[in-house]
Symmetry: C2
Subunit: 609 residues, 2 copies
């Protein structure tokens, strides 16, 4: 915090984003946040009516608690310094911690993994060197010269060279006056970096829908840039099964090329952002579900698409990036975390790794919610995992006015006296609903009795009959960013019932395998693009999530991507990932005696009972 001169405006700092601004005495923290470029959720527009703009005041002079704050914040939260940003008036310099759930979607990804909570001990290490050039008296080959220096200076012996590096080494050495740093992976020399160029790593979470990439300095572990793009395989099928079908019919080459192309573009964009070269990227770690993993690598998927759904490989892999067409350093490596089963992949292993669920001492549930939802129950040293086909509704697909979590999507909403209050991504006029918005809508309609537990819609001033059944008008045409209303339909509610039914059935089966019930869960960790944005209350209200005190839930964002980053900078954590994959007891739901019954029962809307 900078030293404030008398008469200057107080300085407000927002962590963990590291953003700040000077703000006039008496202005609200919400206003300060806007000025600092920190996007806080505020459904009611800052009137203290929605209780969403929770922040934790770490230090500094603020106004006393207001009535709305006493209403929305629990005793525990108040004790910890939680406040509603719209209610707090600035009385001096303030330091604020913004919890993930108060951030708008656009900003959550930036926050994720700003801290990498492991010691930096990457597989690839760079060593600075200066070599004596060859002379008629010193005719050693470039390779021998380099090895000798590494032995002298760093006591490294028995080294081998990556072949593509060897092809470039003579020119690299001569073009850089015999100075630079050489990158080793184990005992293999895989790269040469001109002076001043740091070794970089790339972590990628390859989702069925989205790809998240993270550029990391391998020497320091520092995150340099992050970026998300759509998985271009979407044009070959929205979900895993349709892509496997496509590959079985048409061959997998296009799918493989599409994703590799996206990775290469992503690597280039991330490097451009911080003025680095893709040649500096010496290792990439990729996590994804098993089908994405196989399609990316060009491994056959036929056996994944047919019972008993067996992966080609489940072990962690270390391969040359060039073998799959990845354009990083020519000698660079690609590490893939292990898969667990046909439908529980390396992304879930990464999620467990990042959240530490596998080390939980109390019964803990981990959910990675997406088109496919992976669930792990950690209890008494056991790790029980399953996968359920929750479908694309949570991604905003198969929903009449659904959309991905992009600008203008309603990400949160509530209904107050028949008025719908909402928050859109980027604060733009609404153009649709993303998954979390749909979930809120269903929960609100259920709470108000407009929808019953079977999903049927009763009459209401905002309910109308359309061609394909009833629908509830969420946004009038005049407010909408489209030239029509935004609605949620009976069918949309049905889609959510299917999705939440699948997830809930999975949770129930894991709990019953372990002889537990909802209330035994000490912690529920929710990860994944969608899981990150949802309202926990809405999830509980419709019965997708177990009815537990809110503080037992933790939304951790893209934990799979975080796990990939952790594995990128820590060999120890890679070893731990292998242990996790071996420890997991996989429960195949399609094959499970009580799945059909659980699924049917779980489609009912309403809190679990």
């Amino acid at each position: 915090m900078k030293r404030r001169q008398r008469g200057e405006d107080p300085h407000i700092e927002f962590e963990p984003l590291g953003r700040g601004c000077d703000s006039a005495l008496g202005s609200s923290l919400l206003e300060a946040a806007r000025e600092a470029g920190v996007g806080l959720v505020a459904l009611c527009g800052g009137q203290g009516r929605c209780g969403r703009c929770k922040v934790q005041v770490i230090s500094g002079a603020v106004s006393p608690l207001s009535v709305p704050e006493r209403e929305f914040l629990s005793e525990k939260e108040l004790a910890l310094g939680f406040r509603l940003a719209c209610q707090v008036r600035v009385c001096g310099d303030i330091k604020v911690l913004v919890p993930l759930e108060s951030l708008t979607a656009a900003q959550r990804m930036q926050v994720e993994g700003l801290e990498l909570p492991v010691p930096v001990e990457p597989a690839v290490v760079a060593y600075d060197l200066h070599l004596p050039p060859p002379t008629l008296e010193d005719l050693r080959s470039d390779g021998s010269r380099l090895q000798a220096r590494l032995a002298e200076e760093y006591a490294l012996a028995d080294l081998s060279f990556d072949f593509e590096l060897l092809r470039r080494l003579p020119d690299l050495l001569r073009g850089n006056e015999w100075s630079g740093s050489v990158a080793l992976r184990g005992r293999e020399v895989i790269g040469f970096l001109p002076q001043g160029r740091e070794p970089l790593g790339l972590a990628i979470d390859l989702g069925t829908t989205k790809i998240a990439g993270y550029l990391v300095n391998l020497a320091t572990g520092q995150l340099l840039a992050a970026k998300g793009v759509l998985n271009p395989q979407i044009r070959y099928g929205e979900d895993v099964m349709s892509r496997i079908s496509y590959a079985m019919k048409e061959g997998a080459t296009r799918l493989q090329e599409a994703v590799v192309g996206a990775f290469n573009d992503l690597a280039q964009a991330l490097c451009d952002e911080c003025e680095m070269e893709v040649d500096q990227i010496l290792e990439a770690v990729v996590v994804g579900n098993t089908a994405m993993h196989h399609l990316f690598l060009g491994l056959p998927v036929a056996q994944l698409g047919l019972a008993p759904y067996v992966p080609a490989v489940s072990e962690a892999l270390d391969i040359k990036a060039r073998d799959v067409g990845l354009s990083i350093a020519p000698g660079g490596y690609l590490h893939l975390l292990p898969n667990i089963a046909g439908f529980v992949g390396a992304d879930h292993v990464a999620m467990l790794l990042a959240t530490g669920i596998h080390e939980a001492e109390q019964p803990t549930l981990g959910l990675d919610i997406g088109t496919n939802t992976e669930i792990t129950l950690s209890v008494g040293g056991r790790l029980l995992s399953c996968s359920c086909a929750s479908g694309p509704a949570f991604e905003g697909a198969h929903i009449k006015d659904g959309m991905r979590a992009a600008s203008g999507a309603i990400e949160r909403l509530r209904i107050v006296s028949s008025q719908v209050e909402y928050q859109t991504i980027g604060d733009l006029p609404p153009v649709g609903l993303c998954g979390s918005g749909v979930l809120d809508a269903v929960a609100e309609l259920l709470r108000l009795g407009i929808v019953d537990e079977k999903g049927a819609m009763r009459d209401h001033p905002r309910v109308r009959r359309a061609d394909r059944g009833k629908e509830f008008v969420l946004v009038e045409e005049r407010e909408s960013g489209l030239d029509r209303e935004i609605v949620i339909t009976r069918r949309d509610i049905g889609e959510i019932q299917l999705a939440k039914g699948a997830v809930r059935a999975g949770i129930n089966i894991l709990l019953s395998e372990a002889g537990l019930t909802d209330l035994d869960l000490e912690e529920v960790i929710i990860a994944g693009a969608f899981g990150n944005y949802i309202g926990i209350e809405s999830g509980m209200a419709i019965g997708m999530l177990p009815p537990l005190p809110p503080e037992r839930f933790k939304q951790v964002g893209n934990a799979a991507g975080m796990g990939a980053k952790i594995a990128l900078i820590s060999k120890k954590m890679r070893a731990q990932a292998a242990q996790i994959a071996r420890r997991v007891e996989y429960v195949e739901l399609t094959n499970h005696a009580s799945f059909a019954e659980e699924f049917t029962r779980s489609m009912r809307l309403g809190p679990a009972r």
Copy 2:
């Protein structure tokens, strides 16, 4: 030897070729050899006048010694059972050992390396397996399933998979009813062989002019097929330096593609010959001089073509065959023996390995004679090596009527009372002289005083004046396979002077470095395509070889190829090759104080004095 019935013709066996025939009592061994398809050198046509058809009778009933045999064979040779094949009459079943030097060029290659004198301990080992197929109760991935079986049955653990194998594994397992053998290289699973398919290896000696390939059964070490082809890079330059120049001007891609294409054709042809599949080849070992090594691998050669002539790499390399475009098993490996210096390459290391020169207890000289001649002197635990640019004359190039050692080439000759007696390859009408023929011609002209020690030609009935100086007519038009005479010119003799001068200077400098003279040499081992065919006496007569008793010379044929084969089947010998490369003290001649003087002096024709 088969059991002979009374009245049947005696059976003659020729080793080490393993060929035999039945031959009438009283016929000559030379006739029997022809019938058995064994090509013996016989300049005089079997009249007992040239003494070249020496064979060793191991057992059996033969006629007594003739007068010519007493003339041509030393006491030592007679004691060992050496005879002239044209003089021996068949008196019963006979077993004969044919020394390499008595064989015609066409047959020598077949003999080389029939025996691989090392225990079979290859880098790639295949393990038979039968796997239980997956079921709903056993959902392990293909990779885990395979690993588990290898652990159970062969106690192999901590394995990794080659990536290209992984891409094929699911189909291979399902297409072969989960049975076959898997090939491991160290702890890496690199191949799968359907039942009944043996693991194969490919050894290649990549010469500047010729490529020799050997297909070997990796499980038994047995040589299955051998084949020689021309190096297609010849179109980009005849010698190493011209190819380096080409690569520096035009890029090395074409050179690399040409040689890889030749390797792939060679592998296919070798496999076709014994009804194998190239996919069975799990490892290739390639040896060549440093420039060939670099051009094959696509390593830069600019620094090899300019002083101080430094290789990009001299260490042994293990790379995926696919990384250089070699079409063997998709997961197959390529091993390259270490290089010593810019102009002493892995082929020379292989030659030392195959001949054991590095372990010699007495002063031993090893020569690998070709366009570039590598020389090693082994003395008192030291290995001194140099390389001399002997030029293409020994390959028959830059010689007016010179040609490669192909059909119709005069490979040996002598001049008896102004008549030229010769042996051609394939016994066809002569169309030119290959290197050994040129060497014989120079030696004979020198012996008869037709050429003096400066290379000048005096007048003689067969000497005539042509546009570009004097020439000696070796073959009259009527005997020639061309429509003109075959000659050797003053200029040709000059080329041989340059070549032999370079070799001799190299030998002298190594000897003086070690404080030795010619007569200290206990053994001289001559390898290489050309070295294999030359007349030792001719080599001594012109002064290229040290004047030593003939039994101190040993012609070992393509020892580089033999070394490649040995390295292919023995990990221990690979390690020994690395030691050899490290032990060698390289002497750079172009840089050496007395080289120019030695070279000038060594151009003189006549026995060393």
